[in-house]
Symmetry: C2
Subunit: 500 residues, 2 copies
């Protein structure tokens, strides 16, 4: 082995050990959300804090820096090795920009704000959250300054979730998206709503659970490299590409809740299972960005999982699980019922169209909070005004309004846009698949998803973090993100569902 390869080996070992600690923390978090007994919470909190601190310290210590510096200047590495080093150097430089005193302060502020948010929600009183939230906003402004940016401080924060994403780009996307959705909603308003009350009949929990597993199997989720459990809020996590865990929740009076959260998390999970295992702990073993991650959940949840072809195959099975509830509902009524578009208060319960207004409202507020043209105290009125204007909805209280999401209390500013952008990517990938895979819809209607998996494996999964979202999109589809694909998809779909 050459000296360079030996140093690379040391770098790889170091990164993989850091990954071991981070994944261990992820196991503890998974357990916290699924099985932890209530009194175990306090010790679990400190165990997680210790692991996080150790992983941070291992990454930022001089030995790591030296390994990266030694390798970044050599030409003696393979292309993949060079890319790993380049990305690690990027991560290292970013983490160096945040002094440990700032990191500590930040985590204290966020901890306080999270507990204030819990209390504010409980009391339905934004005032309780106002000052702790302003502290978070202030610290995020500082973080943006420390990280650096060219055009807008919010760019620095979005960059944490989707490298290269900017206000300029997001404004461009949303400027196309917003009027198009309004146009479709105006169309929809002319027609009566489908009856989807059948989704709220009583659906036995065990049968729902079994049907969820059936769906995951059909999606080619590998149960030898993962599992599903129950948690309050569905999520996907992983401890290697061979151990990917999804969770779901089951509401006996809401079949849709389980079915599409299961498919959504399944999409995230396929991405993690498809990442290159031999790159464990290295940048190329990681996902591209949160936007691309969300594209994977959305393509399954919406493009595929709310499509007529998918249910042509699965609806008879679903009916056999729940004959009493569904035998009088034909597939067309089912299809229209699961695609009902109806402006509503809660983001996580929104349909795939109005969902984007929930995101765009949060985006506009976040941008202003970070640039300083809005403060925490102004949020409720700004929020309520925009819900009125964009969704024609009156927000009855802050609990169902600006207190509904956990993100701000966690300091996750810049995260929301990736939800919508993920859907836009999904539609573009979906369009490309349909153009390049002959008979795709027929395959889906026969329950065969292998062509989809193969397309995703080839165009998305296999690259890990090699490309930025934008580059990946161009390689996969031939052009950078273009919201027209989503708009076309939405019009085709909803003009068919809502018509005379």
């Amino acid at each position: 082995m050459s000296t360079t390869q030996q140093v690379y080996e040391n770098y790889r070992n170091k990164l993989q050990q850091i990954a071991d600690v981070k994944y261990a923390a992820a196991v503890l978090q998974w357990d916290q959300e699924t099985y932890l007994p209530v009194k175990g919470n306090e010790a679990r909190g400190r165990q997680l804090a210790t692991l996080t601190a150790i992983a941070h310290q291992m990454f930022t210590e001089t030995t790591t820096e030296n390994l990266i510096n030694e390798l970044i200047s050599t030409s003696d590495l393979t292309d993949q090795q060079s890319k790993n080093i380049e990305l690690s150097a990027y991560d290292f430089n970013k983490s160096k920009k945040l002094p440990s005193s700032f990191v500590r302060k930040s985590s204290e502020v966020i901890n306080k704000s999270f507990h204030a948010w819990i209390a504010a929600r409980k009391e339905n009183d934004f005032k309780i959250f106002e000052n702790p939230l302003q502290d978070v906003i202030d610290i995020k402004k500082q973080e943006a300054d420390l990280l650096g940016y060219e055009a807008h401080p919010y760019d620095a924060l979005m960059n944490e979730y989707d490298r290269g994403l900017t206000v300029k780009e997001t404004d461009r996307l949303f400027a196309k998206l917003s009027p198009a959705i309004t146009e479709i909603l105006d169309h929809i308003k002319q027609f009566p709503q489908p009856d989807n009350s059948f989704l709220h009949r009583h659906f036995d929990k065990t049968k729902q659970w079994d049907f969820g597993l059936y769906l995951l199997k059909n999606m080619h989720f590998d149960f030898e490299a993962g599992r599903q459990d129950i948690s309050e809020h569905p999520f996907t996590t992983n401890f290697s590409s061979k151990d990917v865990r999804v969770t779901t929740r089951i509401d006996e009076n809401d079949l849709a809740n389980m079915v599409w959260s299961c498919i959504h998390e399944g999409g995230h999970a396929l991405y993690e299972q498809g990442l290159p295992d031999e790159q464990y702990g290295l940048p190329l073993g990681e996902y591209c960005s949160l936007s691309i991650h969300e594209s994977q959940s959305r393509i399954w949840e919406n493009c595929i999982g709310r499509g007529i072809e998918f249910w042509q195959h699965h609806y008879p099975t679903l009916q056999s699980y729940f004959p009493d509830q569904l035998k009088t509902i034909d597939i067309r009524q089912f299809y229209r019922g699961i695609n009902t578009v109806q402006p509503s208060l809660i983001r996580t319960e929104a349909d795939e169209l109005t969902y984007h207004f929930h995101v765009m409202i949060r985006y506009e507020i976040e941008k202003k909070l970070i640039e300083g043209s809005l403060n925490a105290k102004d949020i409720p009125s700004a929020w309520n005004e925009m819900y009125q204007k964009n969704l024609n909805i009156k927000v009855p209280n802050d609990k169902q309004g600006c207190l509904q999401d956990v993100h701000w209390s966690h300091g996750s500013f810049g995260y929301f846009p990736t939800y919508s952008i993920g859907s836009l990517y999904a539609a573009q990938f979906w369009s490309n698949m349909n153009g390049t895979i002959p008979d795709l819809k027929k395959e889906i209607s026969l329950g065969n998803n292998m062509s989809i998996i193969n397309w995703l494996q080839k165009n998305i999964f296999s690259f890990g973090r090699y490309y930025h979202s934008s580059e990946l999109c161009k390689i996969a589809t031939g052009e950078i993100l273009n919201p027209s694909y989503f708009i076309r998809y939405a019009k085709d779909k909803f003009y068919d569902i809502y018509k005379k």
Copy 2:
């Protein structure tokens, strides 16, 4: 805060952070035994190795040593604080005796031997295990030399599990125990065996699970500070005294398997839940020794959980869970059935009397292996000879003979004796309880275990690791370990069960 108290605070923080890492590893191990998908095993192995190495490195680094050294010489600490420092110094000095090159070598040898044991069991071929096992024996001899001992190298190994335990003491105990058991077995041989075939009827898994939870609740296992899951081999683990987890296994054709493994692990778990929570991560928050830990499982499993009074309360409930299987079995028949004594091949399936021969045989073999008068290749014949002599049983193959236990493949030499010694402690504690708690048996027959819990909390749990087993026993019962209590208990019980 005084300077000493500030240093103590630093020591406490350090130890607690090390505990965080160790407990995190325990969570990963728990998950490995309960929920880990099969392909996740490889990454889990490396994650565990990394956490173990980090915890070891944190404990043995100079900052830890300096904190301990600074505190060991001061008189400015409380009694409990001094004891923590004294025990940490003991642990530190012990770990310093094993150079890291030795620790690495040892873990390699054990890793190989474990895999060889798996293969040897699969093939039912001791030869596959022979050389790797001899390597483990050789490394354990080295370990004994490095750790140091006065009389016998095996003392150094037993000391790892029960500080202060020696060959001399164990020989003394077993020299009394062995003939007494032979005497009882000779008595038993004169009588026909009770019919316990009803324990092998078909018992529904879900109902067994529910009955197990019912038993744990009756034992005052705190389900807000713990939980039960399923695993192949039942075990107890904990991640703080507020998060204690037991596992069980359920065989539909063997009710006894679940019931007494559940009570056994429940006994271990009560000990962990009862340890002083404010001593998290410190020696006084830890259990006394493996012998005392085993006394806690055995007192519940055997003294209480195979007693007639326990079932006077619970048997009607058990019958209501399984009316078809048990309605014709009266309580006396049930009681005799669950206490059948019958020499058998497998330790983990043995009755509470012949169990000790399984342990004593292993002890004799281990002693000789470590002193060098026996080698790995001699094990099968030595084993089979002793089973013939002590239990009058012919061992048909090594899988059911000397390959049955995992312990040697793990390098756990010195562990087995604690199983028997734990039972002896249990009987002595049980005798003391019966002497000091008025109407104890009546309370138990009414389903009330609070006096037991209170006795254990006061005499065992609250001390943590303050005393050695022997000291603790003397404080709890007024004398050091005396096998007569077990012999008396066994004679009283089995002369009643086996009689005209």
